[in-house]
């Protein structure tokens, strides 16, 4: 048990910080209140360091935790500065002018606490070795985000988005919980190791397949994949840009991790060559991936709102990552689709954040005269004249999202391609290639608007927010898109190590897992024959 606690050190730090931040946000002194963000950052940094020192496990992926959790903490650290000035901006200004402080009116503490809780949830998904744990971790990831969306900006649209997100999220949760229940029914255990033993020994029963497919479809809500993608555009547009940036990474990371955990139970040892997923699962993922890429990219083509565009692009990128999951863990860096997906997730986190951070840095004067968030692509027009730095950041991030060499996105996509080719999924490679080409059209619109287009003389210029952190995050992401390229191979090796199956896993299963398995007699299984 204590060794299991050792796996949870980063989560512990984050949870402790959550408890403090939640109360700290209600402090009477504005200085203490503003310490929330710094404390959050400190906790994330500590979690990052602890994550790197995660112990090696005996499970299927012994080095999974270090890379995954460090990536989560790292990207969260990058997202954090974008969050500055998101909540309580107007209220804090009034308080500074002498208005009486009312604890009921501030949401800063809750906001950062939910931020941390959600990140904790993602990390717990990585540590989970049990279906129930997995479910709870997924919900811990999502529940805070529903509220973060609703309180992110004092506009009706955000609340509408929050409610939509909540209901649809509940529907998705019901779907995968139902799938989990069927898995439990089919195998008689909630332990992932026990389920693995069951699958390896006796193959997949129909119920198990049904349960697994339902779980996969349900979890695809978290990564915004078809057919659970409908909420994405509305929610990303409704929420404030910083929260959208958060939504585009954290739940996606959780979903991807859970998908890997679930798929690992059946393993990539089926098919004719013994290196693919079982046919049913493979077909399901194939359909999901193809639909996701195509729907995301084609709908993104039509958008006039930059935030909706990025939302659909987020859908499309989930499709790309699914390709890696279909390819499975090959022996080398080039063949390892899981590593490719995990590495791509990191790349996507950085470059997507940059694009959202640029949007978050800009404001336009709304109809009511109050500054409103920049949303339309047209709001970016002429940005180069006003803020060349931001325009460059947007350009670099958009080009990287498009996968232009030598930027970060290219290296991410490259391993996805090589792994899919290595696994013989030529059809998927073609679909992915075509989609990447289509994607060029809309990413280049972002580039054109910010770099080349002139603003209409009578239109108002975008104002830059006073939140320095947002610009900082945009700059850091843009620098990352260019600079991290130098370390791309190192990171790829790390992700490869994280997603390399344990050669001694079978021995571990024989010794360890039966002991953990709950008594199977109570549930109906295929044991009779």
């Amino acid at each position: 048990m204590s060794e299991k606690l050792a796996l949870l050190h980063p989560e512990m730090v984050l949870f402790a910080a959550t408890c403090v931040v939640m109360v700290l946000g209600l402090a009477r002194s504005a200085v203490w209140r503003s310490a929330c963000a710094w404390l959050t950052g400190g906790a994330l940094a500590a979690a990052f360091v602890l994550a790197l020192r995660s112990p090696v496990t005996d499970g299927l992926f012994p080095h999974f935790l270090a890379y995954t959790k460090a990536m989560i903490a790292g990207v969260a650290l990058l997202i954090l500065p974008v969050m500055s000035g998101t909540v309580d901006r107007w209220y804090e200004r009034r308080v500074a002018k002498g208005a009486a402080f009312d604890a009921l009116r501030v949401t800063r503490g809750e906001f950062y606490a939910f931020f941390l809780l959600s990140v904790t949830g993602v990390m717990l998904c990585a540590t989970a070795d049990d279906l129930i744990w997995l479910f709870l971790a997924l919900e811990l990831t999502s529940l805070p985000t529903y509220i973060m969306v609703a309180i992110s900006t004092p506009r009706v649209r955000a609340q509408e988005a929050g409610v939509k997100y909540f209901f649809l999220g509940a529907l998705a949760a019901a779907t995968f919980l139902y799938g989990f229940a069927m898995l439990f029914g089919a195998t008689g255990s909630t332990s992932l190791d026990a389920i693995t033993i069951q699958f390896r020994g006796e193959g997949l029963s129909t119920i198990a397949t049904l349960g697994l497919v339902m779980a996969l479809v349900g979890v695809s809500f978290k990564i915004a994949a078809a057919p659970m993608h409908f909420y994405t555009a509305d929610v990303y547009q409704g929420a404030a840009s910083p929260v959208s940036a958060f939504l585009a990474f954290m739940p996606k990371a959780a979903g991807l991790i859970v998908l890997i955990q679930l798929l690992a139970t059946v393993g990539w040892s089926w098919g004719e060559a013994g290196d693919a997923l079982p046919d049913a699962i493979r077909v399901a993922l194939w359909v999901i991936a193809t639909l996701t890429m195509t729907i995301g990219n084609t709908l993104a083509l039509l958008q006039s709102s930059a935030k909706r565009l990025l939302a659909y692009s987020s859908i499309a990128h989930s499709g790309y990552m699914l390709v890696g999951l279909i390819a499975g863990p090959g022996g080398t860096v080039a063949r390892n689709g899981l590593a490719a997906a995990m590495f791509y997730l990191l790349c996507y986190g950085v470059m997507n954040l940059g694009a959202f951070a640029v949007l978050a840095s800009l404001e336009v004067r709304g109809r009511d005269g109050e500054p409103a968030e920049a949303d339309a692509i047209d709001d970016l027009r002429g940005l180069f004249r006003v803020r060349p730095g931001l325009a460059w950041a947007m350009t670099l991030c958009a080009l990287s999202l498009l996968g232009l060499p030598p930027l970060l996105g290219f290296w991410g996509k490259l391993v996805l391609f090589t792994s899919a080719i290595g696994a013989g999924e030529i059809g998927l490679v073609v679909v992915m290639g075509l989609n990447s080409a289509v994607a060029a059209f809309y990413y280049l619109r972002l580039v054109r608007a910010s770099m080349l287009d002139e603003r209409d003389p009578d239109a108002e210029r975008p104002i830059v927010t006073e939140a320095l952190g947002r610009r900082l995050a945009a700059g850091l992401s843009a620098a990352g898109v260019v600079g991290v390229v130098v370390f791309a191979s190192t990171l790829q090796s790390a992700s490869h190590a994280a997603a390399t199956p344990n050669p001694r896993y079978d021995e571990f299963l024989k010794v360890e897992a039966p002991a953990r398995q709950s008594p199977p007699a109570a549930t109906p299984t295929a044991r009779h024959n």
């Binding site: 408890c19 939640m22 009312d102 604890a103 009921l104 119920i207 109906p524 295929a526």
Partner: protein, 127 residues
């Protein structure tokens, strides 16, 4: 694989019975029940006072908040019961016991944090 399906037969039967029971009751009451119409029958409360004013009255939000806080603490206390019953069977000095105790202490800790939060938030204040 066929036996696999067969083992779910009881579940299917229960589902069918549940549907049959619900549908049957509605159908039966419609078929058998008497039907009378009248002015008194149409009142809100057939055997009480006429309501005064609309039902859509606004309550202070604090009532809801307080109700929710109560609910939360109430449910948490309910969780303590099974724990307390199980704890009687565990040796408190063994490592297992420490862990058992640790778990509930952690649970109580989160409750205390929630309590402090609610207090600081001003949930218990009525002005």
């Amino acid at each position: 694989m066929t036996t696999d399906h067969a083992s779910y037969l009881p579940v299917l039967l229960i589902v069918l019975m549940a549907i049959a029971f619900a549908v049957g009751n509605i159908v039966l009451s419609r078929l058998l029940g008497p039907r009378r119409e009248g002015a008194v029958k149409a009142t809100t409360y057939e055997s009480g006072m006429d309501p005064i004013g609309g039902a859509r009255k606004r309550f202070n939000v604090r009532f809801y908040v307080l109700a929710m806080i109560f609910l939360v603490f109430d449910v948490e206390i309910i969780f303590l019961y099974p724990w307390a019953v199980s704890f009687a069977h565990v040796d408190p000095r063994s490592p297992d016991g420490a862990l058992f105790l640790g778990r509930v202490l952690f649970f109580l800790f989160t409750t205390v944090v929630a309590y402090i939060y609610a207090w600081r938030k001003g949930v218990f204040r009525f002005e």
